[in-house]
Symmetry: C2
Subunit: 340 residues, 2 copies
DNA sequence: CCACATTCTGACACCGGTGTCATAATGTGG
DNA sequence: CCACATTATGACACCGGTGTCAGAATGTGG
C-alpha cells in the first residue's frame, strides 16, 4: 500500500495539489462541489497530511519547548499543566526538556535540542528563566521565549512572575502575629532566584516586627524533600527548639512535619510549620500545611499564551506581569503557647 | 540579516550542498581539508540546520509522543522520567499529550495531534494502553507504539507491564500474616486495568487464607487523593472498623492515613494502612506507607527504548516483558492487637 | 606510465506540502 | 450580449535538507 500524499489525493480527485491544500486549510475560494469531492477522497484514502512538510513550507513546527531543572516534581507538573492549557488552546504541542543548569554543557545541550527538533518557542522555568547566558543565546538564535517566575529584569522578553518576597513576608508575619518569635527558616536551592526572594521576605518581616535575625535559625535546603529532612534534623536539634519553622517550599515543610511527628512533637501545639507553593502535598498530610499559594499554572499559562501570540505576530508589545501570592492557613500553624 | 541555510554555507565554503550535508551528518568520504573548511563556515555563520527540512527528507521527526490520562500526578512524572531517559539516550525528544479516554473525541483528538505534529512513535500509558480502539487506529495509521502497564494481550505490539495481581496478593498476605482479618479495600479508577488486577490479587489472598470476602469492606475510588478521602470516610465509619486498609494506590492510602490521624486513630497501632506504587508520598508522610514498589520508570524506559529500536528497524521481534513488583514495608502496617 | 580500484564531489531529483501569480470560469450591471 | 469584477483553479517555484548516481580526483600495483 502506497503512502497517501497530497499528490495521490489530487490525482484521485482530479484536481490540483493546490486545491487540495486549500480544502485542507479551509481556505476560501473553493467551490462547494469541489470541496465536497476532495473531502470525500480524504475519507476514502484515509489521508493524513504530513505536518513536517507543512512545517517546512510554513516555517513553523507548532511545538513549544519547556525547559526545566527542578527538584520539585509537583512544581513541574503544575508548570506542564499550565503550559499545556495554553498550547492546546492555540493548537500547539508541548515538548518537555529537563536539563541541568550547571556546566558549560547547557548551551551545547540546547543547541543540540534545536538541531534535533524545530521549536517555535521556549518556556523557561526556574532556574533557566534567570540565566543571562541562555537568554543571550536564545536572542542570538532568534528563538522566541517566555520566562516564568524570574527575578531578573529583561525588557525584551516575556515574563510572568509572582510576588515571592511579599508572600514570604506575609507568612512570616502570620507566624509572628501568632506569637512566634523564634522562627527557623529553610532556604531553597541556591540557583533559584526564588530562594533569595523568600529569604528576604522572611527577614523583612522580622525587621518590621523588631525581631532580631538569628543566622543559627537558618538552614540550607534545595527545595527537595530530602534536603528538607536534613534541615529539619538541624533545626529540631537546636536548643532551645524554635517554636515555628518556615520552609521555602511545601516539600521541605512536609519533611519537617514528618520528623517532628516522629519525635513525638505535636504540630501545631508544640511547633508550628509553614511552607510555600501550595503544592498538593500541603493538603495531603495531617495537619495540612499553612502555605503561600503561588499561581504556578496561571503564570505558565499566561507566559505560554503570550509566547504564542508573539510567535504569531499578533502581539508586538512584550508582556510582563506579576501575579499575587496568597496566604492559605491550614492546621500546621497555631498560637504559640509559652511553656510553663 | 538573512537566514543561514545549507545553501549559504555551501556557497560561502565553495562546495556543494551535498558536501555540507555530508559534513553535517559525519558521513565518510569527505576529505579532511574540506571537512575543516565547512566546519569553520558553520561557526562563522552560526549555522543551525533546520530539523524540519531534515525530517521531511528522512521522513523522521525524532519525536515520541506520550499519551496519558491519569489522576495521579506522580505516576505521570515517573512515566515521563523513564520515557525521557530512553529518548535522550537515542537523541529523540518527548512530546506530552494528556487527553481523555472517554468519549468518541479520543480518536479525533489523536488524529488532530498527528495532523499537527509528526510523531515517530507513541507511548501509551494506562488507560490508553488498554484501548482496543486506539490500538486499532494506530495500526491502521501505521504509527509505531508501545504499551505500558497494559493488561490486554496483543502479540503485535510492544508491551511492558508489572505484575499487579501478584503485588496486590503479596501486600494483602502481608496484612493477613500480621493478624488482620478485616481488611478494607479501595478500588482504583474503573477505566484502568490495574484496578481489576489489584482487586483480584486482594481477593486471591483472602481466599488462600480462608478469609471470607466481604463486599462491605470494598470502596470505590479512582486513584485520586480526593476519591481516597471519600472512601476513607466510608471505611472508617464502618462498625466495627476494619483493622487494616489496603488502598489501590498511595495517594488514596495517604488520604486514609490523614483521616485516621484526624480522628485520633493511631496508625499502625489502631489501624494498619497499605498502598500501592511506592509513590514519593509514601515516604513523605509519617508513618511511611507500606506499599508495593511498581517500577514505573523502568517499565516506561524499556517500552520507549524498544519503541525506538522498532522505529529504527533495529528490532524486528516484538518485545513483551513483565517486571516484578516488590513489597516495601514501612511503618504504616503492624501486628493486629486484639482489643481487650 | 598505464589500468584499475578507491575516494571525493557535485548535479539533480525528491520529500510533501504552501505561496505567488496567471488564467479560466462564473457572476453582475448596463 | 458585452464589459468588467469576482470567484475558482492550476502551474510552478520554493521551503531546506537528503538520496542516487555519475564523474572527477587520487591512490595503487605491475
Amino acid at each position: 500500500m502506497k503512502k497517501v500524499t497530497i499528490n495521490s489525493v489530487a490525482t484521485y480527485a482530479g484536481v490540483s495539489k493546490k486545491t487540495v491544500s486549500r480544502v485542507l486549510n479551509n481556505e476560501p475560494n473553493v467551490s462547494p462541489a469541489t470541496r465536497e469531492k476532495v473531502l470525500k477522497v480524504f475519507k476514502e484514502l484515509d489521508y493524513t497530511p504530513n505536518p513536517i512538510a507543512r512545517g517546512l513550507a510554513r516555517n513553523r513546527s507548532f511545538i513549544i519547548g519547556c525547559l526545566y531543572d527542578n527538584p520539585s516534581k509537583s512544581y513541574i507538573t503544575r508548570v506542564q499543566s499550565g503550559a499545556l492549557e495554553a498550547c492546546h488552546k492555540h493548537n500547539y504541542n508541548l515538548l518537555i526538556h529537563p536539563c541541568e543548569l550547571r556546566g558549560e554543557a547547557l548551551i551545547e545541550n540546547i543547541e543540540h535540542l534545536l538541531t534535533t527538533s524545530r521549536l517555535d518557542g521556549m518556556v523557561l522555568t526556574p532556574p533557566f528563566s534567570d540565566s543571562q547566558e541562555l537568554i543571550a543565546f536564545l536572542k542570538r538564535k532568534k528563538i522566541h521565549f517566555a520566562r516564568v517566575a524570574s527575578a531578573i529584569e529583561d525588557k525584551d522578553s516575556i515574563s510572568v512572575r509572582s510576588n515571592d518576597e511579599q508572600g514570604a513576608f506575609e507568612i512570616t508575619e502570620h507566624l509572628i502575629k501568632l506569637g512566634h518569635t523564634s522562627i527557623a527558616f529553610i532556604k531553597g536551592h541556591p540557583d533559584h532566584s526564588a530562594t533569595e526572594q523568600r529569604f528576604s521576605g522572611y527577614q523583612r518581616a522580622l525587621t518590621v516586627h523588631n525581631i532580631e535575625f538569628d543566622s543559627e535559625l537558618v538552614a540550607e535546603g534545595n527545595f527537595s524533600y530530602h534536603s528538607g529532612a536534613d534541615s529539619a534534623k538541624e533545626i529540631l536539634d537546636l536548643q532551645p527548639t524554635p517554636s515555628a519553622v518556615f520552609a521555602s517550599n511545601d516539600y521541605m515543610a512536609a519533611a519537617v512535619l514528618k520528623l517532628a511527628t516522629q519525635r513525638q512533637l505535636q504540630v501545631p501545639k508544640d511547633i508550628s510549620i509553614a511552607g510555600f507553593d501550595n503544592a498538593p502535598i500541603a493538603r495531603h498530610i495531617w495537619p495540612g500545611l499553612t502555605t503561600i499559594a503561588q499561581p504556578v499554572e496561571e503564570m505558565t499559562r499566561q507566559a505560554v499564551e503570550q509566547l504564542i501570540l508573539q510567535i504569531s505576530d499578533e502581539q508586538t508589545s512584550v508582556y510582563q506581569a506579576t501575579l499575587e501570592a496568597k496566604l492559605i492557613t491550614r492546621e500546621s500553624t497555631a498560637k504559640h503557647l509559652v511553656d510553663d
